[in-house]
């Protein structure tokens, strides 16, 4: 009986019910979409940093991260390759060989990171190819071709077609020197990277550096980027003792923390939104109840206990709130999903930020049902609480007081 009464009451005071409903709906949608955009921008920034070159995961010899030298190389890359070939969770993987060498163009010599990559595999693992701004990307048959970072090219005063000398030391400690023609120039937007790296087809670099069947590390990409941590953990179980698998969280820990700081501030802002919305719903609940003081007095006079009235009012509120929050959650999910699939393109954004190491041309949401679930629950709880105070207030009044209430 209480339920039908509650429903009738809701329908009776349409204006206020609709306002409360809309308010709660708006809150829910706002909150879900806000968090989705916030997470989305973080995912995007991290994705960018991860995908430009670092990659979602690495396998290297223990100690490589501390000392990236020839003493910490994967000595038998083929065995790791076979091992990884059996991993069904892996979508792509590829060995990389990184060394430090001198690049020299005419009078200018600059020490730089030289990466030996397998160009065709790298396409699916990093954005080196799409960062091309001049010339062409490497291919698997390239020999004396080098793919230069844009700022490194500037420092070397080198352009397409120029012959650049590379002088390093090979694994057997002999001097490795060769001439490379600049085939392409890339710009990722990460200044450090663009001014300090050059890439060469690994197969050819290996003959120069005597690094056949060697790798600095393997870069990994799983079928689902979200599973990275889980898969990295399980890889660590399977790998021989001297190797370790690392996820992007280990490789880019400062960036991850920077995003956490940003989230912290994001939640601070959203908590202010919450606060004000909490009050508004409370005000509406309060007003709603108080305009019905007479009716409540009547119910009390008819023998309803304060407990029953509490249940009635709370029931009313809950029906209203729950339905609006649920619909809000659905709308919020739909919006988040939409902008997840169709990021908002902001023309000029990429140009604006490319110089500062952020390569973003669009803003997308992060569609995560679990996060949405938690968001919804939090709002539902908060909105339900907001009615507690008005109900207590009304129950404090005596029957006669309520009857006389104007």
């Amino acid at each position: 009986m209480l339920y039908s009464l509650a429903l009738k009451n809701i329908l009776a005071s349409k204006g206020r019910s609709i306002t409360t409903f809309l308010l709660s709906l708006f809150t829910t949608v706002l909150f879900i979409v806000y968090v989705a955009f916030m997470d989305g921008s973080h995912v995007q920034i991290i994705q960018n940093s991860v995908e430009i070159y670092t990659g979602y995961g690495h396998i290297n010899v223990k100690g490589y991260e501390e000392a990236k030298d020839y003493d910490h190389l994967i000595e038998d890359a083929a065995s790791i390759e076979t091992l990884l070939g059996k991993e069904s969770s892996l979508a792509y993987f590829s060995p990389r060989f990184e060394t430090y060498a001198l690049l020299s163009n005419k009078e200018i010599s600059i020490g730089s990171m030289i990466g030996g990559i397998i160009p065709s595999k790298e396409k699916n693992l990093s954005r080196l190819q799409s960062a091309l701004i001049k010339g062409t990307y490497l291919d698997d048959n390239d020999t004396n071709a080098v793919y230069l970072g844009s700022d490194l090219a500037k420092r070397l005063k080198a352009d397409l077609g120029d012959k650049i000398a590379l002088i390093g030391s090979s694994l057997d400690n002999a001097t490795a020197a060769d001439l490379f023609t600049v085939k392409g120039i890339f710009k990722t937007g990460l200044f450090e990277f663009d001014s300090n790296s050059a890439f060469v087809n690994k197969t050819y670099l290996d003959t120069l550096m005597m690094s056949q069947n060697k790798a600095s590390y393997f870069i990994l990409r799983f079928h689902h980027d979200k599973d990275t941590f889980k898969e990295i953990a399980s890889l660590n179980q399977k790998l021989p003792r001297e190797y370790e698998a690392l996820s992007w969280k280990d490789l880019l820990s400062a960036l991850v923390q920077a995003m956490e700081v940003d989230s912290l501030f994001g939640y601070l802002s959203i908590s202010i939104f919450f606060l004000v919305i909490f009050f508004v719903i409370m005000i509406f609940g309060y007003v709603n109840i108080y305009t019905r003081t007479k009716q409540i007095g009547l119910l009390r006079a008819l023998g309803f206990t304060p407990g029953a009235i509490k249940k009635l009012l709370f029931g009313e509120h809950l029906i209203l709130i729950a339905s609006s929050v649920l619909i809000g959650a659905l709308i919020g999910s739909a919006v988040s999903y939409y902008f997840h699939i169709h990021p908002i393109l902001i023309p000029g954004l990429a140009d604006m930020y490319k110089d500062y190491g952020v390569v973003i041309d669009s803003i997308a949401t992060d569609f995560n049902p679990l996060t949405i679930g938690w968001d919804t629950l939090a709002i539902l709880l908060l909105n339900s609480l907001s009615i507690g105070y008005p109900i207590r207030q009304i129950n404090k009044l005596s029957v006669t007081e309520t009857m006389r209430y104007v």
Binding site: A165, D172, N173, A174, A177, L179
Partner: protein, 243 residues
């Protein structure tokens, strides 16, 4: 009492002077005015062993020219050092490259010596204050503490010297915290013309992850007694004497 004090001080001074003189004498003996040498360098690392043969011409400590004779792939690579600058010629790519500061601490030809070790005029007598620690004729132990403004990374060097033949036997290099960083030992001391020198040197780094590394240098031919053609110490020489 007073006399004892004066006497003690004078002993310290004498010792200090003596130590300096010893270091200078050893340097002078090893360097000579001109030096031509053929050396064999054996580098041992985790990756195995590697032999490099070089020919070198030098005049004092300012000028030197080095040519790689072996292994085949490195044959003809030449190095020229004038004062503090170093150039390298690579016959394979026919280019002369000036070694930039950023590469100075990279290993030289895969050895435990750095480019910096090759270039630096770091002279023990110039950059260090010498102090006699122990005298056990004919061997003295001398501690070398860098002078306040000397541009050297070592905290100190402790060296054993055979003063009768003016050759070092051992040098222990310490870092700033006075931890041992590398040890150099000298052996097979022989007469070479007007000079006596150790024909074998061995450098052993002590960093934990370089513990297996060794660099040994054997002098196969040494000549201190003929002046060297100044043509070696020009940039043109890099290419000209490459083969």
């Amino acid at each position: 009492m007073k006399y004892l004090f004066v006497w003690l001080i004078s002993i310290v001074f004498v010792f200090a002077d003596e130590a300096d003189d010893i270091v200078k004498a050893v340097e002078k003996n090893l360097r000579g005015d001109y030096m031509y040498a053929q050396m064999r360098m054996i580098v041992t690392s985790k990756r195995g062993q590697r032999t490099v043969k070089v020919e070198s011409w030098s005049q004092g400590d300012k000028k030197s020219f080095i040519k790689i004779l072996y292994p085949k792939q490195d044959m003809g690579i030449t190095f020229l050092k004038l004062d503090t600058q170093m150039w390298q010629y690579l016959p394979k790519i026919e280019r002369i490259i000036k070694i930039p500061p950023s590469m100075m601490l990279q290993s030289w030809m895969g050895s435990d010596f750095t480019n910096d070790d090759m270039v630096k005029e770091s002279s023990m007598s110039k950059d260090y204050d010498a102090r006699l620690l122990l005298k056990k004729m004919p061997i003295v132990t001398i501690e070398l503490i860098p002078k306040p403004n000397a541009a050297v990374v070592w905290g100190k060097i402790v060296t054993d010297i055979d003063i009768s033949r003016k050759v070092p036997l051992k040098e222990v290099y310490y870092d700033d915290q006075m931890q041992e960083v590398r040890i150099m030992t000298f052996s097979d001391i022989r007469q070479a013309g007007s000079h006596i020198l150790p024909m074998k040197m061995e450098l052993q780094p002590l960093d934990p992850d370089k513990k297996q590394n060794r660099t040994q240098v054997f002098f196969e031919k040494v000549n201190y007694d003929n002046p060297i053609d100044p043509a070696y110490f020009t940039k043109q020489a890099l290419k000209r004497f490459s083969n």
